[in-house]
């Protein structure tokens, strides 16, 4: 039943998500009636498909009723989102829940040795976490693309001539090219606001020739421009800014931090300061925008990656008063900053950390999605990687420091913590989303493991690769990737190519984020990433050296995936190989972008924003290598233990298998027989236990091999008997597990050019399976397969029937004898032909 429920909910999920992607941004009204009608329609469409193919009526009715109630709840809860978004979300939740339940039942009740079970359980946990993180990505994108009613959206504020409190704009600089900073200062001199000062806080720049010209320029620009050079100053940028508070004009009420490469619009202060009329508003943030990126694919991909965060994540967060202070292009109330004790000098993303402490005190924040200035992006991939490492590391530091404040019970422990549940959710999820790249690495490695073992003759069992575990993750992966691309195209107005490049730009940061997550957990203080350097005039070599780890991982995935299929062609190895190639593409995106970045002409050198102790990438990587090696060793040692020789009692709780051909309508089963588990198909592989004729009753044993796909293998055909499985002295071939990252899409938070962290998270929904060895042959099973009459060589044999017979059977008469439409028949035939 659970299997059918999973497939049915999968159908609803697919229908609702596809509809959302077609019309989600176009439907600009909310209506309970409309939503209820759409909900009913989605359920009905799914039910129609299900009743024609695999569903049992009473189960269908029950699940539809549950889905209806569930859907109505979400229609009520998500009042501000249109019908397409509401139903897509509710169906996503439903299918995710059912998938988790299904995966647990398969994990728990498949006959496995104890070590295999522990390993399978470990993967199940990771799978669940990855699925939950994927849901957060999904919600965030729905919240913005399908939202109709906005409660806190502000496009622009009108200036208030009589309200002009003094603003202190602070420019922290470290070793920045003077000409870059000079341009920024000149743009600040053009601000259309009567009451402000500019404080350039030069922090530890070693060469006087770098900061002295700025001192002279400040003199020229007027008395409200000042420069401070801080020498031997601890605390990096936050330490410098904390000292700057002592030099801030006593009358200043608002502080703005501006990165030294930003050129501001004259209206920056005039249109942002009015937000502070509300005394509860503590900080205002605008998007971090960039210049000099047009025409260069590398820069454009990065730019749109940054923009994703400010177009999707921040508006969603703003609706719940949960934005982060991004460290530049924002204003903060001076009294509040003093009240919280200034900037945190321990956390390297002190801006986001400060915003959390501010919101804990019950203040309000505001995000205005309008660009008021443009800065410079990292010029090369090395710089981008370090920046992402910094942001992720800082995000993990914030989690470490404030995790208790973000828990549901936080208010009981500390009544002074006035963060709402939504605020805590956004900050908690914002930190946890970084870990999706860690999971992705583990899953990539499991896939490699599966690939290696699929090339051997040994069995490797973690979890059986049942049809849902094959189909559903593929569906999740495909649809969620498409959803992410859809969001990029619709909200950022990108072409398909640019959307793809942007998506892969997120993926290319996966390794750096993985390292940062691990280092963030174990390092007591801030560190920055030192990437390997090569003394070579070849840009190519330099680019590859910077991404050597990603290249290595990508190549391993590519090679193993290809070899796994070549050495043992089957549907499963094709599936496994495809997933490995997909993983390879994710990691090889790094050298791709690194090489792409070498095409840029570096106009000027940038100052490094690195702070803390430097950690070599090789050294940081050892933790990642250790984790994956441990997983490998445990996984490899699993095969040393024998699998159960007989069918244990608990295996009766395994979910039954529903062959995919039923889903497609190829295998027609009368409704009254659908509740009966399908008969296990006879295998054409010579069973080593031909000498042991003892029969076991047929059960819905999902450990039998590919049950659905004819592969045209070269194994000799032999007469088979139906409905029996001969036990063998060797372990039964079980569909072992292939780690299947399904949803690798949807980075939500994009990195911000200041020290604010964003999560360029790829969410991965893996199902952990290891590809079985090639001892079984996939075969079609139809209820009419009763004999094992060998067929002539060359004709695909499917359970004893010829293809023609199958197609005829699939010509599809309903149990009542009525014909289904010719179109449907044509579709089925074409599918079978393609499969052949």
């Amino acid at each position: 039943m659970i299997t059918r429920a999973l497939y049915l909910s999968g159908g609803w999920f697919a229908i609702s998500l596809l509809a959302m992607m077609i019309g989600g941004t176009k439907l600009r009204r909310t209506s309970f009636i409309l939503s209820a009608i759409w909900l009913s329609l989605v359920i009905l469409l799914g039910d129609l498909w299900a009743i024609l193919t695999f569903a049992v009526p009473w189960e269908l009715a029950a699940l539809s009723a549950i889905a209806l109630i569930f859907g109505v709840f979400w229609i009520w809860w998500l009042k501000d989102i249109n019908a397409l978004g509401q139903i897509a979300w509710s169906m996503t939740l439903l299918v995710t829940f059912l998938f988790i339940l299904y995966a647990f039942l398969v994990t728990a009740f498949t006959p496995l040795n104890p070590l295999s079970f522990i390993l399978a359980l470990f993967f199940f946990f990771i799978e669940v976490i990855a699925l939950l993180l994927a849901l957060t990505h999904m919600y965030e994108s729905l919240d913005v693309t399908c939202r109709v009613k906005w409660h806190r959206r502000v496009n622009r504020l009108n200036p208030i001539p009589e309200y002009t409190p003094m603003v202190s704009l602070q420019l922290p600089t470290y070793n920045e090219p003077p000409e870059v900073v000079a341009e920024t200062l000149r743009s600040l001199a053009r601000l259309d606001y009567p009451n402000y000062e500019v404080l350039v806080v030069d922090n530890n720049t070693p060469e006087e020739s770098t900061w002295r010209p700025l001192e002279e320029l400040c003199r020229q620009l007027g008395p409200n421009f000042r420069l401070l050079h801080l020498d031997k100053w601890p605390g990096y940028k936050s330490g410098a800014l904390n000292f700057a508070l002592t030099q801030t004009h006593p009358e200043a009420e608002i502080i703005g931090t501006i990165d030294s490469d930003y050129q501001l619009s004259p209206a920056f202060l005039k249109e942002l300061v009015p937000a502070f009329v509300d005394p509860m508003v503590a900080f205002v943030q605008t998007p971090q925008d960039y210049r000099d990126f047009k025409g260069d694919p590398y820069s454009e991909a990065i730019y749109y990656g940054y923009k994703y965060f400010f177009e999707i994540s921040m508006p969603s967060r703003n609706e719940h008063n949960a934005i982060i202070f991004a460290g530049t292009m924002g204003l903060i109330r001076k009294s509040v900053l003093q009240e919280i004790g200034g900037w945190d000098e321990w956390c390297i993303t002190e801006d986001a950390e400060a915003s959390l402490r501010i919101l804990k005190r019950g203040y309000k924040s505001l995000y205005i999605n309008r660009s008021y200035g443009r800065g410079l992006m990292p010029f090369n991939f090395d710089g981008l990687k370090k920046q992402r490492f910094r942001w992720c590391f800082g995000g993990i530091q914030i989690l470490k420091k404030h995790w208790e404040s973000l828990m549901p019970w936080a208010h009981w422990i500390d009544p002074n913590n006035r963060m709402t549940l939504q605020q805590r959710y956004y900050y908690l999820v914002g930190g946890l989303q970084w870990f999706t790249d860690v999971f992705n690495l583990i899953f990539a490695f499991l896939l490699v493991l599966g690939g290696i073992f699929s090339m051997s003759t040994e069995h490797y069992t973690i979890r059986p690769l049942t049809s849902p575990l094959l189909i559903m993750p593929a569906v999740f992966l495909f649809l969620n990737l498409w959803r992410f691309l859809w969001v990029l195209r619709n909200k950022l107005r990108l072409t398909w190519v640019m959307a793809l490049l942007t998506m892969y730009n997120f993926f290319s940061m996966g390794w750096a984020v993985t390292l940062a997550c691990i280092q963030g957990l174990i390092q007591p203080k801030g560190v920055f990433l030192r990437t390997p350097k090569v003394q070579s005039s070849s840009k190519f070599l330099r680019a590859l050296r910077v991404t050597q780890w990603e290249t290595l991982i990508g190549l391993i995935c590519m090679i193993i995936g290809t070899l796994a299929f070549i050495t043992n062609p089957s549907v499963r190895t094709f599936f496994l190989g495809s997933l490995l190639v997909w993983q390879a593409s994710i990691y090889l995106a790094a050298p791709f972008f690194s090489l792409l970045s070498t095409e840029k002409v570096e106009v000027q050198t940038r100052g490094s924003k690195d702070q803390g102790t430097g950690i070599l990438e090789q050294w940081a990587a050892r933790w990642a290598v250790a984790i994956t090696t441990l997983v490998f060793l445990v996984g490899a040692s699993v095969q040393l233990l024998p699998q159960p020789a007989v069918q244990p009692l608990y295996s009766q709780f395994q979910p039954e298998e529903v062959p995919p051909e039923r889903l497609l309508g190829i295998e027609q089963v009368p409704i009254e027989q659908r509740a009966t588990p399908p008969t296990p198909r006879p295998t054409r592989t010579p069973m080593p236990t031909a000498t042991e004729p003892a029969m076991l009753p047929v059960t819905a044993l999902p450990t039998l091999t590919d049950t659905t796909i004819p592969t045209g293998t070269k194994e000799p055909e032999q007469p088979t008997q139906t409905a029996t499985v001969a036990p063998s002295s060797t372990p039964l071939p079980t569909d072992t597990a292939t780690a299947v990252p399904t949803d690798t899409a949807a980075p939500t938070a994009t990195p911000q050019p200041s020290s604010t962290p964003t999560q360029a998270a790829t969410s991965v929904i893996p199902t952990v399976t290891v590809v079985e060895t090639a001892t079984s042959t996939p075969e079609l099973v139809t209820p009419t397969a009763t004999s094992g009459t060998p067929t002539p060589t060359g004709t695909p044999v499917t359970g004893g029937l010829s293809l023609q017979q199958i197609i005829s059977a699939a010509d599809l008469r309903m149990p009542s004898g009525q014909f289904i439409s010719p179109v449907y028949t044509w579709i089925m035939k074409s599918t079978v032909n393609w499969w052949q």
Partner: protein, 214 residues
């Protein structure tokens, strides 16, 4: 009694000197004003007001900053002194914007401008809670055990079966040494979470033993 009388006399004397300095300043007699305030600072070196008065009448910037530094050391939250310090330092930094770090406390910075001039400045902000905390809290042990109990779910919940009760027990024991509400709630949370984890671990372990026993 004698001490109190002496203190009272001193205070009276200081008040008189400060008033005299103020009066002298008003009529433009900076020299007398400075002498009065200097005398006052010698009599009552721990009185922030005398240092403010002296800073206002000192002739050199260096001495002004010296006086203000003394004042800040005595009282970092003196608004008038903050303004005075700001305006003096601003003028000084216009000439030479160099400031080198010397030291700091929770409330104060000590910096150096140029080769010899050390200045003490208040931080003008609240003291944040230190992180990492200087000492582990009373529930540090229980929290560690709870974390390991969570990780113990991975080996089919077997670790949780052992560690969750230990975490709960550790939190119970800590109740005895906890006096504040915050930590009492924390202990209750640890016990609650340990119970939840234990309940989750039971069926997982049962299933594991099924696999073991086959």
């Amino acid at each position: 009694m004698a001490q109190a009388t002496t203190d009272l006399d001193r205070m009276t004397r200081v008040r008189a000197l400060l008033n005299a300095a103020n009066d002298s300043r008003k009529i433009g007699d900076r020299d007398h004003a400075y002498r009065y305030s200097l005398e006052a600072s010698r009599i009552a070196p721990n009185d922030p007001e005398v240092w403010l008065a002296r800073a206002e009448t000192a002739h050199s910037i260096e001495e002004k900053l010296f006086c203000l530094s003394r004042l800040h050391t005595l009282n970092p939250y003196y608004p008038a002194a903050q303004r005075k310090t700001y305006s003096i330092l601003r003028e000084m930094l216009r000439e030479e914007p160099f400031l080198a770090y010397l030291d700091e406390t929770e409330n104060l910075y000590q910096v150096r401008n140029g080769p010899a001039l050390a200045v003490t400045l208040p931080k003008y902000r609240a003291i944040p809670e230190p992180y990492p905390p200087p000492r582990p809290g009373p529930l540090a042990g229980a929290n560690h055990l709870l974390l390991w109990a969570l990780i113990g779910l991975v080996p089919a919940g077997l670790g949780t079966l052992v560690l969750a009760p230990m975490a709960a027990l550790s939190a119970f024991k800590a109740f005895g040494s906890i006096s504040d509400r915050k930590n009492s709630f924390r202990a209750a949370v640890v016990i609650g979470l340990a119970a939840v984890l234990w309940i989750i671990a039971i069926p997982m372990s049962i299933i594991f033993f099924l696999h073991l026993g086959q």
